[in-house]
Amino acid sequence: DARVTQTPRHKVTEMGQEVTMRCQPILGHNTVFWYRQTMMQGLELLAYFRNRAPLDDSGMPKDRFSAEMPDATLATLKIQPSEPRDSAVYFCASGRTGTLGEKLFFGSGTQLSVL
């Protein structure tokens, strides 16, 4: 059963520390998205890639966040330095671009707590 895999599931860290979240998209999917979910803001798009190229990262604070796809099987989201306001659940989703719209498959998320 194909699924998006995210690690770690939970991360507790102190302010100022670097955090790296990883995502393995579903094999054959060519788009990868990073969303952040909080109670106040809901699901916010941070960045997304198509065929490993970044298409839009306008939702991401550029000074501390970075997203990359080193290869087709791995996407990373890094926060350096982390701040308490970064506490949220971070979801990775993958899909296959088509002309009929794009159904996304989500991972289980990384719950990040920055103290």
Binding site: F33, L45, A93, L104
Partner: protein, 112 residues
Amino acid sequence: GESVGLHLPTLSVQEGDNSIINCAYSNSASDYFIWYKQESGKGPQFIIDIRSNMDKRQGQRVTVLLNKTVKHLSLQIAATQPGDSAVYFCAENMQAGTALIFGKGTTLSVSS
């Protein structure tokens, strides 16, 4: 700015009732809409989608209705079950290949 939103943050129903979850969108250029279900501790899961050239689409126990005149989307769940308890999000895709934009979500609580 343009956004996708939901009318009610919570909805409580009895088991066996039909549920209707509503969503209003503001971008008339959006051509694709999706409903997702998110259970506690999990990521959103696809339920059903609809293109802008359709008014209605049915799945298993779920129906999505699209009213482009008033920019309104709804999800109908027939014979609601306790397992349907979750947060439901509508999302819009303004054009193929762009990212989905999500609304804030409606929490559905089903009591037996």
